[in-house]
């Protein structure tokens, strides 16, 4: 078993806007591309041109349909990656200490040299956020691009996770969720950001912004936004109205 460090002063994490995510998978491939060449071993692919291609991805996007009681069904795109929980069960379950939570900012990482590929952490994670790399036999997971965010070889503006940098609809945000004045904390406050599956007691750092309400019912006429008033019912009436109106301009 591995122990968690004291709660960090800084809690780096992602804020993912489900109102804006179009499900394009850009973040999935940017993550795959970056981590394939930046980590000690690539994110492997098995049978990439074959009958059953599978591979290691640290971030995946799912689509779920929601059927409200009234109105049309909705489709929510849901990006899923490690939430860097305060009470990360994947860390405490690790028998070798390979899983660890960085004391300075709370990022949950795997020390591949110590990982024996037992898979306990994947069982412990309620979010399915860890993936066993079948080529390396070690557990891989989102690092919040720890090799970007502090990397002096990158321009300062690029020191953020690859998924955030690439997101075309700007649905992904990165920052310190322990700082109430950070941009991400303000966004969470303004938009009512939520924890994913809080009942699991993992205290995730990442937050999701829920979709805004959609699809007012067709006959739900707002007193502030009523249907249009009619000025003319037939062509001659409209043309006369136009002339009268233009005469006033």
């Amino acid at each position: 078993m591995t122990t968690l460090p004291p709660l960090p002063q800084k809690k780096l994490g992602l804020v993912i806007d489900l109102d804006t995510c179009v499900g394009c998978h850009a973040c999935v491939i940017a993550c795959k591309g970056w981590n394939t060449q930046s980590q000690p071993s690539p994110l492997s692919d098995q049978d990439p041109y074959g009958a059953d291609p599978t591979g290691t991805f640290l971030n995946r996007v799912h689509g779920f349909e929601v059927q409200p009681p009234e109105g049309p069904a909705q489709l929510v795109h849901f990006p899923r990656s490690c939430l860097h929980c305060d009470d990360a069960p994947c860390v405490t379950v690790c028998p070798t200490g390979a899983s660890w939570k960085r004391a300075e900012d709370g990022i949950v990482l795997v020390n591949e040299a110590d990982c024996i590929g037992c898979g306990l952490c994947a069982w412990a994670c309620p979010y399915g956020a860890r993936e066993m790399d079948m080529a390396e036999g070690v557990m891989k997971k989102c690092t919040l691009c720890v090799d970007r965010i502090d990397n002096p070889h990158l321009p300062e503006e690029d020191r953020l996770p690859a998924c955030v940098r690439t997101c075309p609809s700007q649905a992904r945000h990165f920052g310190d969720l322990n700082d109430p004045d950070s941009a991400v904390s303000l966004l969470v406050a303004e938009r009512g950001g939520v924890d994913l599956m809080p009942e699991q007691g993992t205290a995730p750092v990442n937050k999701y912004l829920p979709p805004r309400p959609r699809d007012a019912a067709p006959d739900d006429v707002d007193v502030l936004a009523p249907y249009l008033d009619v000025v003319a019912e037939e062509p001659r009436g409209l043309l006369g109205w136009i002339d009268r109106t233009l005469a006033r301009i």
Binding site: D19, C24, A26, G50, D147, T166, R214, D215, Y227, L228
Partner: protein, 928 residues
């Protein structure tokens, strides 16, 4: 904690970044290719680039896998087995080019029209078109005929610019965005960036689409419209706005042809055309005098409701006709809602939302400007309603008129080129009247007199021989499809196989998968490609295919010219064809070889120049017969289309050094582009940024930068005179007459005002027998067939179920894992089914181009793309049954009407794989 691990958080992932342009779709984003020891290791977006501002989609980020693909061709190929077998031998480039010359040279000297050159994902159309023009064949086009010509043609004939790809919403100021039929593509990253910006400031997005995926999933309101009825919805909105008087009278009077006076004398040859003065200028009633005046006269104040009496007849303005047409109760929401699959209240509500967004809080920019009549405006007043529309409108046989209806709606709202609305990207606006007419008269040994593709203004511009027969193999610019401004690539193989209008000798295709996912009636197309005449020769004797990958089409070529990938080539994304401009800047870009190819492949454009030189084509050889250009890079820098105007507008040579737009060729131009990050921008001055079609500052700037040779203005053509000229001919007037079989169709579909009619195939396919609409969408992470070989992307979209709405899922009593037979009037397929609730109740859909033929693309024959993936293409006929062989296309533009497809569904016992199946191709490249 001191004992925590210390991972390397500062790896050097690359030692060099080379900035070039993506080629994974038509967005043409800027990319940073990170190289380590000369090997590309990572691609991300170029932060400075005007298209993508640093972001990049899944396709772009997976670009390395395109370069590393096992499907890449390795050397030129000559067919050795029967066509379609996939049996080839690798040959040298000299052998390949000699073979091509042996076919093309005698043809050019005898019958150049028997050579046809059509291109698919070509991003060098101003070059490939010029090459075909120099060869002298009338038979050239790119793939616009089955992509988006309805949007382009309707936009250019109406507004002088189009949604895709020469327009964009005003993301900075729009408060309401309507998305019509926009799937997950075109204009992918700019749209996503824009949607994010709208969302960030709380603007409203309304999606109008049978399928609620992608952008429609994040729309605040979704109208799950029945396919092919968007035009009816739009005209109902027009009806509501007119009845409410919620229209922009000043915009209509000043900037549209609503005040133009029409000849209302039924006996006049010009009945329904504008009254004109001796100089041919359309007339309006000037409010200042009450008399006729030219539309563009200095200081003229057009009267919107003008009319004059002459010889006992009233000649009325277009606005009268608009009121007559659209005030008709037939367009009332109650009358159209059921057909559209909507509730009347949804239409009323949308009309009210549009009116409020447009008029209750206009955008006012503190920017004076002067219009073409010399009227000085103190501010720029705009209507913050933006519209974007694409494939769901385009791919129907009523798509041209539906797109025109949308432009009418925008114009009534004053939401064209005004702040907050739709804006044009330079070099647009450019009205149809300023475009060339199609050139088609071929003469042995001579170049064509002009470019192939143009914008006919009337029947006299059709590409017909004196005997009335079609000049072009695709029958573009004939009475069947008079305004086919992008050609009809989808009909080339079918027409050539039938020898109607004539036989071809050699067909050359570039980056087009016509033997699979780019054809309607795929099985039939395969049969046509392999059809033999009585002598045992192929009906299409020679097929040349240029592609980088082992596509299904490659197997049907006699000669394969292997292309490089996008990281190994020069390209120019040019203002002469499809640049990367945004509304605030004219911009172009390059690709350059950031790596060298590792095999015997050559960039196709350089191969074309080599071939052109070997054929002695004008412009490609000098007086001594030596090649004019060393390669495509040399052409990009040194070619002049007009004096001072070349493929790239930046870093041209002037008297005082480098200059923009106009200037002499610069042999170091590409180096300058590379140093600048791969692109170049010419910012539009603030006074020219809006109201461009009518703005003197814009016109002057466009001339200064070489986008135009003289200032030009035009009104929004709400009443479209070219349409009326064809309609008038169909009424029996004038020297150019359509065949009688087409008169009725032209009278109906060439209405000079936007009109809705049901998809043409509904007349031949009983909606009761085929009650379900079937369409495709392109996934955001995949583009055409190219993505299917990509090791990363195929893990996202490796198969494509047919998505069924709840109504049909329940009616067929389906459960997860079930299969369905999908039956059209033409063919049937059996495919895996999945339930999706967020659908129009009578529409099924699937992702396009996922299904692959066994043996193609170097995939395992057991790959899910080849066993469970499928194409809807099999179900779509290329000709309308029982309609005299007319193509299954929009009758105005020839746009392939592949979204008109109707089917019926039956539950099926699960077959061992998706049906139909095809014999495996023998792969011309080794397995991975």
């Amino acid at each position: 904690m001191k004992d925590q691990p210390d991972p390397d958080t500062a790896p050097r992932i690359s030692d060099e970044i080379r900035k070039t342009t993506c080629y994974m779709c038509a967005c043409r984003c800027g990319i940073d290719v990170h190289l380590k020891d000369g090997v590309p290791v990572y691609i991300d977006g170029n932060r400075d680039h005007p298209v993508n501002r640093g972001v990049l989609c899944a396709k772009g980020a997976a670009g390395l896998k395109q370069v590393l693909s096992p499907a890449r061709l390795r050397a030129p190929l000559r067919r050795t087995g029967p066509r379609g077998s996939g049996e080839f031998e690798e040959i040298s480039w000299d052998e390949a080019l000699d073979l091509a010359v042996s076919w093309l040279k005698p043809l050019r000297e005898t019958a150049p029209e028997k050579f046809a050159f059509f291109t698919g994902r070509d991003q060098s159309q101003s070059f490939t078109g010029w090459w075909a023009q120099m060869y002298g064949t009338p038979n050239y086009a790119a793939h616009g005929g089955f992509c988006s010509v309805n949007m382009a043609a309707a936009g250019i004939y109406t507004l002088g610019g189009s949604f895709w790809e020469f327009g964009a919403p005003d993301w900075d100021h729009a408060r309401l965005l309507l998305l019509f039929g926009v799937a997950e593509d075109h204009d992918s990253n700019p749209l996503k960036l824009g949607l994010g910006r709208l969302k960030a400031r709380g603007a409203k997005v309304v999606g109008i689409n049978p399928v609620r995926s992608g952008y429609n999933a994040i729309a605040d309101d979704w109208l799950g419209i029945t396919p092919g009825t968007d035009g009816l919805l739009v005209l109902a909105l027009v009806h509501e706005l007119l009845r409410a008087g919620r229209i922009d009278l000043e915009f209509l009077a000043r900037f549209t042809n609503a005040p133009v006076i029409l000849d209302c004398d039924p006996k006049s040859p010009d009945y329904g055309l504008a009254l004109r003065d001796e100089e041919g200028r359309a007339q309006v009633v000037d409010r200042r005098t009450g008399r006729l005046a030219p539309w563009d006269g200095e200081g003229v104040e057009p009267q919107l409701t003008g009319q004059i009496r002459r010889a006992g007849l009233s000649h009325r303005s277009v606005m009268h006709h608009i009121a007559d047409r659209y005030m008709d109760p037939a367009y009332a929401p109650e009358k159209v809602a059921e057909r559209c699959g909507l509730a009347p209240g949804q239409i009323r509500r949308l009309a009210a939302d549009l009116a409020r967004a447009a008029f209750d809080d206009p955008v006012v920019l503190d920017q004076p400007w002067t219009d073409f009549r010399g009227h000085r405006h103190a501010t720029m007043v705009g209507r913050p309603v933006a519209v974007h529309a694409m494939r769901g409108i385009s791919a129907h046989s009523n798509g041209f008129q539906t797109c025109r209806a949308i432009h009418l709606l925008q114009s009534l709202l004053g939401a064209v080129e005004t702040p907050g609305s739709m804006r044009f990207k330079p070099p647009y606006p450019k009205p149809a009247s300023a475009h060339p007419r199609p050139a088609f008269r071929s003469r042995p040994g001579q170049p064509l007199e002009g470019p192939h593709l143009g914008f006919p203004q009337g029947p006299e511009d059709l590409a017909l021989h004196p005997d009335g027969s079609a000049a072009r193999i695709d029958r573009a610019f004939t009475w069947e499809n008079p305004l086919s401004a992008h050609g009809l690539m989808h009909m080339v193989i079918a027409n050539a196989a039938e020898g109607d209008p004539y036989r071809l000798d050699t067909l050359m295709l570039y980056m087009a998968n016509m033997a699979w996912n780019s054809a309607m009636n795929t099985q039939g197309t395969i049969d046509m490609l392999t059809a033999q005449d009585e002598d045992g020769g192929y009906v299409i004797p020679h097929i040349i295919c240029a592609d980088a990958y082992s596509s299904e089409m490659v197997a049907y070529a006699d000669l394969v010219l292997p292309d490089t990938t996008y990281l190994e080539r020069h390209d120019c994304i040019s203002l002469l064809d499809r640049p990367i401009s945004d509304p605030d800047a004219a911009a172009d870009a390059i690709r350059w070889p950031v790596i060298a190819p590792d095999r015997d492949v050559r960039p196709f454009q350089s191969v074309l120049l080599d071939l052109g030189a070997r054929l002695g084509l004008p412009g490609m050889v000098d007086a001594e017969g030596q090649p004019t250009y060393a390669d495509y890079a040399d052409y990009i820098q040194m070619h002049e289309r007009r004096p001072g105007i070349g493929p790239l507008a930046g870093f041209r040579l002037g008297d005082k050094g480098l200059q923009d737009g106009r200037g002499l060729p610069n042999a170091a131009q590409i180096d300058s582009y590379i140093a600048a990050g791969g692109f170049h921008e010419m910012p539009v001055p603030p006074e020219a940024a809006y109201f461009k079609p009518w703005n003197r500052a814009w016109a002057d700037w466009a001339v200064d930068k070489g986008l135009a040779e003289a200032p030009g203005f035009d009104l929004v053509q709400l009443w479209c005179e070219p349409l009326r000229r064809f309609q008038r001919a169909a009424e029996g007037h004038g020297p150019h007459q359509p065949p009688d079989s087409l008169r009725g169709r032209i009278r109906t579909t060439f209405d000079p005002l936007p009109v809705w009619y049901p998809p043409l195939s509904d007349a031949f396919e009983d909606p009761a027998e085929f009650p379900v609409h079937a369409i495709t969408q392109r996934p955001m992470a995949m583009y055409h067939s190219w993505g299917g070989q990509n090791a990363w992307l195929r893990q996202i979209h490796g198969q494509n179920p047919l998505y069924l709405p709840t109504l049909w899922w329940n009616r067929l009593n389906l459960a997860p894992g079930d299969w369905v037979r999908v039956i059209s009037s033409h063919a049937e397929i059996t495919v895996p089914a999945e339930h999706m609730a967020a659908l129009n109740p009578d529409t099924v859909w699937t992702w396009n181009a996922i299904g692959k033929r066994k043996g193609a693309w170097a995939l395992d024959p057991a790959a899910p793309e080849a066993t469970r993936g499928f194409l809807l293409n099999h179900l779509i006929p290329e000709r309308l049954s029982g309609a005299g062989g007319w193509s299954n296309s929009d009758p105005v533009t020839g746009q392939a009407a592949w979204f008109d497809l109707r089917v019926r569904l039956e539950k099926s016992a699960p077959p061992d794989q998706a049906q139909p199946t095809f014999p495996p191709l023998r792969s011309p490249v080794p397995p991975p």
